[in-house]
């Protein structure tokens, strides 16, 4: 953790059980997780979007490349978007080799995150089950398992008896409509406390000099030399950002705004292969812990995990209608409950406590759009659909490298925006109908 440790020093500012006790006795106040800095007029790089992706990018820019004159701008508060609204599932059992390699790296970074960032992100490596209810989805599970194995990812197809062992609450009996024929079992998968990841990156980046500016909305991206109006568009270059708190000059802008990606990119004259759809989630009242693993059903469009607090957390597929409204719907909870009870009839008396939704930036091939855009200095880390949280660490690491070196790192080369001009799409489409 290098520079982070030095910044934090040995003292009580550093999180540890000892510091906890020390403060408990002394009753002292913990230092602020990040400073409130004045917005400067110029930065080496500006990152738009204070979610996990933007904060991770800032953190790795400072840590791996020594680029610390960086501002992260968010129109609301840090983690107010999808970062704090997702269901915090992490896994690497994707379908394509490029996808597996990428998400596997992310999983590695999650594994060491608590010590790297000196905050407990509560990574619970509890295993991840993707159920198959018909032979075609079972075939896809086998496909994923085989590709995963070749990439050294622990992933295999198991039958109903083993499933019953892993998750006794599942109804593996012969089922009229959605029989559980088998499942893709991925032991390294699990859940993470999403807010802690946001705060951890922000705190660590802050320690290295990065500035976080909340309630600072980007109104325009200032460009020169492009084909479009005001020098925007291909062939142009970024010179600054207009914000609700004044103009900033910068040669580099990274768009990490997920659901709002199209709007920010349009400010630079870049049209994206993205539509914005809400993804809804819900949580029940707590009951004593009974579900030890993450359960997903692609055919039923539902995924389920139980937090250490005892709540069941549910997610589903994105809403079919493109919208920026995150109001949420009753039909979502109806479908969800019906599908959950198909899998676990025993929970019919559990009560739904709260529902919410976040915005997803969906791409045609269920894969992100990362890297350079044809507008010099304008980079995107978008198209994260329903799988952005699990990719945050590796995305930050790779985007930071792209910014620092000006070259596209190999790991994200398959996700270049240009693939939508050449037609060489990524093949996750098959497996990712439900993308958690």
């Amino acid at each position: 953790m290098g520079s982070l440790g030095r910044r934090l020093g040995r003292g009580p500012a550093k999180y540890s059980a000892a510091a906890l006790v020390w403060r408990g006795l002394r009753g002292g106040q913990w230092p602020r997780i990040w400073r409130d800095a004045e917005l400067k007029r110029s930065y080496d790089a500006v990152i738009v979007g204070g979610g996990v992706h933007g904060l991770a990018t800032a953190y790795y820019l400072a840590r791996n490349h020594g680029i610390k004159d960086v501002a992260v701008l968010d129109k609301a508060y840090l983690g107010s978007g999808a970062s704090g609204r997702n269901t915090a599932i992490v896994r690497a059992n994707y379908l394509t080799p490029e996808g597996v390699a990428f998400y596997d790296r992310s999983l590695q970074l999650y594994n060491t995150m608590a010590t790297d960032l000196n905050i407990n992100v509560m990574f619970s490596e509890r295993g991840h089950l993707t159920l198959a209810h018909n032979d075609s989805s079972l075939r896809t599970m086998h496909w994923r398992a085989e590709v995963n194995k070749l990439q050294g990812v622990d992933s295999s197809v198991i039958g109903p008896d083993e499933i019953k062992k892993v998750a006794p609450s599942l109804d593996t009996s012969s089922h009229p409509r959605y029989p559980i024929l088998g499942a893709l079992y991925h032991p390294p998968g699990g859940i993470v406390r999403h807010d802690a990841v946001v705060w951890g990156y922000a705190r660590a980046a802050d320690c290295m000099g990065v500035e976080m500016h909340q309630k600072t909305e980007v109104l325009d991206i200032l460009c020169e030399g492009g084909d479009g109006t005001d020098g925007k568009g291909p062939g142009g270059r970024v010179v600054g950002v207009r914000t609700s708190r004044g103009d900033i000059s910068t040669p580099v802008v990274v768009n990490c705004t997920a659901g709002w990606a199209s709007l920010i990119s349009a400010m630079a004259g870049v049209r994206l292969p993205i539509t914005t759809h809400p993804l809804q989630a819900a949580v029940t009242e707590p009951v004593k812990v009974f579900l030890p693993t993450v359960v997903v059903s692609g055919s039923l469009h539902v995924y389920i995990s139980q937090t250490d607090r005892g709540e069941l957390v549910f997610g589903a597929a994105v809403d079919p209608v493109a919208t920026y409204s995150i109001r949420g719907s009753l039909e979502f909870t109806e479908e969800l409950a019906g599908h959950v009870l198909e899998l676990m009839p025993g929970v019919s008396r559990m009560r739904l406590l709260r529902q919410w939704s976040g915005l997803c930036d969906m791409t045609p091939d269920y894969s992100p759009v990362m890297g350079f855009t044809g507008v010099d200095g304008f980079l995107v880390d978008v198209g994260w659909g329903t799988y952005g949280f699990k990719a945050a660490p590796v995305s930050g690491e790779q985007m930071a490298e792209a910014v620092a070196t000006g070259r596209t790192p190999e790991l994200i080369a398959p996700f270049a925006l240009s693939r939508f001009d050449t037609g060489e799409l990524v093949g996750e489409k098959g497996a990712a109908a439900v993308g958690h």
Binding site: Y77, D135, R354
Partner: protein, 950 residues
Amino acid sequence: MTMGRLGNAQPTEVIDRGAKLSFRWNGKRFGGFEGDTIASALAAAGEQVFSRSMKYHRPRGILTADYWDPNLLVQVGDDPNVRAGHRRLEAGMEVSAQNVWPSLRRDIKAANGLVGRFLTAGFYYKTFMRPARLWPAYERVLATFAPGGKIDLDTPHRYHDKRYMHPDVVVAGAGPAGIEAALAASADGARVLLVEHEHAVGGHLRYDSRDTAVAALAELRAALDASDVEVLTDSTVTGRYEDNWLGIVQRSHPVAVERLIKARAKTLVVAPGLIERPYVFAGNDRPGVITSTAARRLINLWGVKPGERAVVFTANADGDAAAADLDRAGVEIAAVIDGRQGHRVSSTQGSPRAVEAVVSGGNRIEADLLVVAAGWTAPTSLLNMAGDRPVYDPPAARFFAADPPGNVLATGGLAGDGTLDELRAHGAATGRLAAQRAAAVAHRLQALTARAQPVGGEEPPWAPDDRIPLGRDPHPELYRSDTHGMVDFSEDVGSKDLMAAAGEGYDSVELAKRYTTATMGPSQGKLETVNTVAAIAEARGETIAAVGTTVWRPPYAPLTLGALAGRGFEPVRVSSIQPWHEANGVHTILAGQWIRPDHYGDPAAEVRNVRSNVGLIDVTPLGKLDLRGPDVAKLLNLLYTNKWSKLPVGKVRYGMMCAEDGVVLDDGVTGRLGDEHYLMTTTSSGAGGVWEWVENWLQTERPDWRVHVTPVTTAYTSINVAGPKARELVSRVTDGVDLSPEAFAYMEVRTATVAGVAGCFMWRIGFTGELSFEIHVPAGCGLHVWEALMDAGDDLGVGPFGLEGQRIMRLEKGHFIVGQDTDGLTLGPSTGLGPLIKLDKDDFAGKPELAWAVGRPLPMIVAIQPDDPNIVPAEASQIVAGDTNQILGRITSSRMSPTLGRSICLGQVEPELAAGGTKLTVLLTTGERVGATVMDHHAHFDPTGERLRG
């Protein structure tokens, strides 16, 4: 505190002292009355501790004595987290305390209280990082702190039900204002649904023993009974969604356990009243500290004496009323501390059986009950569910809703304060306004709806809001006393935690909420939101208004997954022949919504019978579109990659469809039945999608083309008769058609009478590679024809075969299946059907992509045979480069061929491996690598197709 049942019946009590009920609490027998809640019965029996708090396991007693009471969550049988303050007592109930270990009285985890100062909110973020390997162990310990009840995994999904409603006006909350609103709207001719969360209408009048209140309630009840208003009690409007789509859960349905009502309200009146807010001070969560509402409910509804000697801290008229009720109930009033005079309660001390109130100035007052009336929370949830935030009004010391849309109206406590008469008048005015606006919506809906009665006259104007607004009584801003206390009772979050979090930088209400989990518990902020905001405001040195509050999210009250799921409709489709299949030992398989025959015991035998004799398969799910009109040929040219202009009447042709991105979409054969009449078949799974796809082209891109498309998939029962003896069999039951190969050749179609059924289409095609007749029979006669064929073919050895047999035979023939051998990126040319892609047609779906693809090296679908004929590589086995992990393709289909006695496959491989004779390495799922060879043709069997032409 010592509680007990009052000897004399209260004028407003809801219990039937004549009807005793017996139940069990933590295993011990208790008694109560009909009309009691679980909590009131236990309180009457002298119970004081009902639960232990989440984190510190502090003893908790009654706080609000209603649905929202965070201390009254209990387990009832297999039902966890039951609101004992709300749930009616039933005879024989098995009730037990939750979150206690080992028992309610002696809870070992209460020791956490001693180390409480180390377990500050969010402490777990700051520790357990090292050594990382120990975290899973820590996690298991943390998980044991999960609050709430237990799930019995054998709980059945009992009968739940749903219905839709389209009322004019829905009124949420049947207090005096809500009832008046419902009555007024109904009087104006609106269809009104009045929804009350509690077990009876009346709101706060129910537990007001004063004569005026009793009389008013009686009057309102009588008026309701005489009206057309539909009243639902013990029911809750759980959410307001787009366009006034309401979720209403009815817990009082006679038949269903719960019924979820989905109502499209033309207008919604929101009148839930106010929720009394706890006051924050040291020991404010001690049993014996209750809200003034709780005191009045206990006394007036259930005749429960809440204590012997009370201190009343009051800052409003309801607190004063509570003091009067206590006095009337014979509770000694040790002191009345008037918050309006600036007096405060600062802490309590003593055992659960005795709270000793310390008031500002340090005086101690002995008592066993502390009744607190410190102000109100306005549950503006239904008003603000579109995401807008309530606005704080300092003089009134509570939040009010931001301006809601015009078809949502607030009345009662949410709208302001006033005398009972003023509240009733405002309710009535609101009801009238709601009815007028509903009439405008109804008029518009009726005018726009095709099937509706023609609506006469002008649309009524959008009625202006001319209600006389309610006033706002001044109320002291009482949130925290001069000590720290509990803010969120269900999450064990105190004011100290919140202020510390704010100091650490979690200083917006959202961040503080996420960090401390305040307001995240079962009461979802109903009691604690405002105190949470106040604590943050205090820490920031800002006003409550500046800090603002969070967005209310649905549901308003938690509802069971059972209620949300309802009965769960899962449509399934069957063919007319299903009864025969079931009578003949079928093993079915679900294909989409279809229940289909997979096999009848021995698929390999079925294959051998088809290859040597004749078999029947029910292929009814095959998609069928009836196409008519002069421009059908144009349409086919547009949809398929190949050419259709010259297809003669009586001929059928195979075609492949690609999407606009060139990816294979569907395939099938289409036959020309007449000059301007075609029948298109699609894959079973593609039937619905292709139909929409065709309609899309015709309606949006080619509206000038004259074509009618009619789906006739299940108008016909489709039977494929396959095998060397197929002609013999079919000839025995068919009239009017010469079946000889000369007269009726491969890839031709005829109309015939089969087994006496006229109007059957007969195609000479087949997926199996055998001589085949595919007969499409009017569905009402499908079973008849199937049985006739079975009877007629007895001596020919006819037998049924299922999907599995067909899959084997199509694989022997090397026919690919869209979606199995192709995937979401498979371009047309990859199928090996490049010759069917006619780029010289001026336009067809996906043409540009296909034109660009033709030049490009693409993965190819090829037939593959493992070198060891006994090894059947599982489908999805990867094709790799020698001993490396480089992926060069995969097996998409594989079977043991009964006909060839060896394993056969289809697969997708990289272009350089597609040539016949290429040696491949297949990685089996076992990890073993085996050799395989690419074949010259897709067909493993009868590549020249003599058998099917025969």
